[in-house]
Symmetry: D2
Subunit: 413 residues, 4 copies
């Protein structure tokens, strides 16, 4: 019988930028008995889910739910809209943007990879991993494509590997300014339901997301939010696809069903998550994450360590990347913190392996969860012999105490 009791007592602090800590309320909902996915009650459930998820994406158009991880939804976005040999424009904001471009290549798509080309003292080998998408670079590139060979622009909204967001509306404006017909495809796997996101208003054609971040579910389902233009493009797209094909799913979704077996118990969890989010109000949810992020950054600043995101306008509300002094092994530090304090932090990925760690501040958390997290970081860094300018824990306490949340407490029912 499974116990997972790696530490003798207490709850593990899972402060990676996803999977995020799942509220007990959602785990309870997921333990409802699996029902017949062809039966009458499932249709009602399906319609409820499909209506709710559109509100989360802020769209009037279909949202396709896959019984698959977020990586599957990446593939779905490409496979439903493109044909073998198509050319797309991607932008190197970090590890996940890189992985997406590699996936495109595997699928036979020619992916051109733009990146910010400046210098960076802290991450000289990956300067663009501290910045967001430069919409002007995209506009410039599109203007150089009068034959419209570029079929899509693919960017990441909230780079989980860096803690940098990108201005999606600006990318849309860039495409429009270039009068280019390319589709705009956006990965907000780690941004949805934590950071402000507006599929329709920002003119996104395909938005890709997943369950295990702001939606606070375990991993296992993922999403494609569509635009009419994307649906139109899918009719002539030639990449082979079946499991991920939109057409049958969108068709059967009209009655609340799926063409194959959906992840029923995760859909239960999704209903519960959406009820929690809507009950709090999405604007409150976004403000809550912004406040948490500010408190965490106050700590990082006090420690005297560089925040990975170099542009304060683009700080992620979901996670904060912390760059360690040269010579420090970030992964050894994370292991020490895990073993001594039962706290999981995110690793430096790809080009940043061993150089930094990431603090997730999303999901089922609160001020004290973050104080515990920052305490674990601070104790661990001291034990590892890292010189800190001052106490980040102190700074975070000052921030949290000094900035009350908008609506900290519901009245007892």
């Amino acid at each position: 019988m499974l116990t997972l009791d790696f530490h003798p007592t207490g709850r593990h602090f899972l402060q990676i930028p996803g999977p995020s800590p799942v509220p007990d309320r959602i785990l309870r909902a997921m333990s409802l008995p699996t029902i017949d996915h062809r039966g009458p009650e499932f249709g009602a459930l399906g319609l409820q889910v499909l209506k709710g998820i559109r509100e989360i994406f802020k769209t009037q158009h279909p949202v396709v739910i896959y019984p698959a991880s977020g990586t599957g939804a990446w593939e779905a976005a490409l496979a439903n809209t493109l044909s073998p040999g198509d050319h797309v424009l991607m932008y190197e904001t970090g590890h996940f943007a890189t992985l997406w471009s590699k996936m495109a290549a595997r699928l036979g798509i020619s992916a051109e990879f733009l990146a910010w080309q400046g210098q960076d003292e802290h991450l000289p080998n990956a300067p663009s991993w501290r910045r967001g998408v430069q919409a002007d670079l995209i506009e410039e590139r599109l203007r150089k494509d009068p034959e419209h060979r570029i079929k899509a622009v693919c960017v990441v909204h909230n780079e989980t590997s860096t803690g940098v967001t990108s201005d999606i509306a600006a990318v849309r404006r860039a495409i429009d300014a270039a009068k280019h017909p390319a589709l705009l495809m956006v990965d907000t796997i780690s941004g949805l339901a934590s950071a402000d996101y507006r599929h329709d208003e920002w003119g996104v054609d395909v938005t890709v997301s997943g369950s295990q971040k702001g939606l606070m579910l375990p991993p296992g389902i993922s999403f494609n939010a569509l635009s009419p233009k994307a649906l139109e493009a899918s009719k002539s797209a030639k990449l082979p696809r079946s499991f991920f094909a939109w057409d049958e799913i969108v068709e059967m979704n009209h009655n609340g069903y799926w063409p194959y077996t959906p992840s029923t118990n995760l859909l239960y969890g999704l209903v519960e998550a959406m009820e929690m989010l809507q009950s709090e109000g999405l604007d409150q949810v976004f403000a809550r994450h912004q406040r948490w992020a500010a408190g965490v950054r106050a700590a990082v600043n006090a420690w005297g360590l560089p925040i990975q995101c170099a542009d304060p306008a683009l700080y992620s509300p979901v996670l904060t990347g912390v760059i360690l002094p040269a010579g420090v092994d970030a992964d050894a530090l994370r292991q020490l913190i895990y073993q001594r304090f039962d706290l999981s932090l995110g690793a430096g990925l790809g080009k940043l392996k061993g150089r930094m760690f990431r603090i997730g501040h999303l999901g089922d958390s609160n001020d004290l969860t973050l104080m515990a997290t920052l305490s674990g970081c601070e104790m661990g860094m001291k034990l590892a012999g890292i010189a800190l300018k001052s106490s980040g824990v102190q700074a975070a306490m000052d921030y949290f105490a000094g900035h009350p949340a908008g609506s900290a407490l519901k009245a007892a029912a």
Copy 2:
């Protein structure tokens, strides 16, 4: 807050051939907190899962676990081994064999569809849906392919739409007798862990399965068991694939990890399920399902209704298809039974819509669960005005009372 209380009291009887009723013990395991899929304890979990699942498939070779529904694993089997335009041989045993062949066509594969061509009085429009794969037809066809244009033979082991199994070892012998190099790919989505299955011994190259049947999990993860020959074929296969690509997964699995976020909480459930199955013993598990199936068939025979499977050697241990008298609307009957008795039965699919219903006898069930199910069927059929020869409930009681299970009761610990 989600309640799913469609009926005023009691537990729903989910007697469809999958998703099967999930044991509470598995639901409890799935409610353990989600952990870091890159952390140290996850590797240990992953290795435990990967070792256990090979025992279930009876293979020494890799088993790839997808965070996706079974339909995804169908696509994975095709996409990893075939190239655009390849020709494959499939066999029409029922609705799911048909769907798999349609998927092949969507992926750009040329799928030739064999079928039994005899007459059937009860299902004149789908005679092959009452029988298993005729291995001699396959051998005959392969002998007519001296250039080895046929790249794979794809068959279904336990047709969920019909309750007919097929003799996979015989198909292997047929391929070997024809001295043909085609891969053998088998769908045992609804057979695994309920019906005897032997990936290595039967010489299968790719076995496709899912979580929500004999493994008693909710839907959401699926499997490809591989042979060395299949792995070799994947190196030259040209169908584009990324999410489903075996190479990266097999590589990372060596340390117990996955290249992208796995369905952590379903893996918890899988550990628990495998522990339950191994603790009972797979042979006991198979015998248990055979005994249940025999009890259910005793009831159907007593009612005087045709069992869909026309070949007693191929009766499925997992489900039994019941053909209704001409003129009876099977779906109206199922709805009546659902509303009056809180019992879900499987529908007639595809060509059989409205002609029959399917009784699932798998997963978290026991003799009395099946007696409840048969009582619900019998009461429902009487209410629907269907003339029954005699009481199936009586016949099933005679069978179950007369045939004690091999090891009905564990000693109290």
Copy 3:
């Protein structure tokens, strides 16, 4: 780690007359985190619980909730109202009435035990265990007590050991007719929330009940519903008491708190149970149990076995006692049924040990649960070589199919 897997698969059928099967919804509610029993949210919870429970007892007066089993609530009723040496009138309806009278004796109360004195062919040694309270015997006895030495009349509403109810309103009328000031104390531990019960309307002074029957909770909390007269009596009662003393509890309950630590998680379950009961409607709940009982009795009659309750007007809606032919060992039969069919039935208690078994038809059940239960009984009795007149399972199917429930199905939300 606890598994309780005494049988290899499927859910245990717990068809004893309590503890009754607990709905998963209640188990889920009970798994909410324990909160501070002195904190602000607890007061809100407490007031909600205390308001709801009065509706279940149909009273305007205080209901005291004990963090203790039902036996504790028996003691509370006596200890709060009586003084050492007091004389009370009790009535032998079965095993639990007997235990209550023994408890009175242990507490130093003089308990006079009335019983029906007729002959009974099936249970010659316990004829009164097939009948309800004879209110005329009580009236007669009270008339012979002009000095009012009798301080209380104590009766059991639904005898869990026999499946016989008693007419509480008639007992009230008998006391009134005798113009006697004795308190009326009623045990409806196994009747509440399954059988019609009206604390105020029937003029009961103390009603004793528990959690693990009609309220569908695990055991662990119990109740005293009070009348103003009982509260008045408690002021001069001299039996020592502290844990069970009403005064402090009633006082602190005004704000939703208890003087000592309440069973917080069972109170969560109670909130959920009351919401389920009120949502269905108490009258529907009572009708549902009556219908179930009628179906079960149809089976017992078909078997040709005597129903223990000899008075059809007093059949319990909660359980049915089945008397076995002389010479049959009922406990051996129950053990056979448990081992072969994973079904627990109630034992014959006290004077009836080994002579009969009891079928519980309460809690989280439905028509098919009862069909499963009756199938298990019928198969077991045949295996034990008991001659049955005809199939009880058949008769129950006829009854359930022929008598649709008032409102079998809620519309999907």
Copy 4:
């Protein structure tokens, strides 16, 4: 449906000295289906529970488990051993000792209440509430009772209202030195399974404890550990008792059963709790709590606030009382902390209402849980305008980082 979502997100920090946070593992065990308390598997469970609980109390003699709160176990200790009018010696260590003496009075026992009579600058109205039992006072008093009118000495081992422990072995020695036959009865409701306790070695006659502290269960069951001398005394004790009577329980426990319905689901949780405690090792458990307590005291000292326990040899490993500067309303502070930081702290009770707060450091906690707790306290006190000498959070981080736990991490299984 119950949600208890008083705060918008995250888990509540329940850092009162009981009920303690319940590990999910125990909540899951408690959600196993209720079984027949008269059935064969229950006896096995009961024997397992009764064997395990003796190891926790460190006794070879019977431990009686009540389906009742700890207050019930207090009453049981008195009612089973004493007769009306008996004289007992109690000792005022705090609020709970006071309540126990009041209970004795309600039961008709004459309770003499000793107390330390010195001066205390911080708690002038309750000087004895900062100190443990003075064994010499007890010895002195017993020597003045040559007729042995004193039937029992009753003391509290770990005063939940003060955070002061008492030296039970010393009390035993005092009784022996006085050559007095009085029973020694000890309340370790909040000490058991967190603080070292030895029923047999320390010569205790009745130990009273409960479930919701070191055993990490929800409230609802409680204990009397007995000595042969206590059992002997119960034979002649004259206080009326039934529910709490030892004789029948001890008798039926021989086969693992109880005379009335036990709290089955809490017993499931108890099995799980004992498995967790034994797997860690009781000595490790005690050391873990001592280390936590030291870290918390480091914080209180840094704040410059008096720790309630005035004797460092008697610091409780379970909770720490913090005395606030005169004029500060501790309850207003606790409310502020609850509302802003979702943290529950223990209130000042009885004579100390509003003067202090209590930090629980027991149950399902770890270093970071305590860091979160101390952060909440420190932020709250600053917001309330309380002048702190220095950062307690900093001091606690120094302590926890500087003092690694004996065995912080189990190897991954």
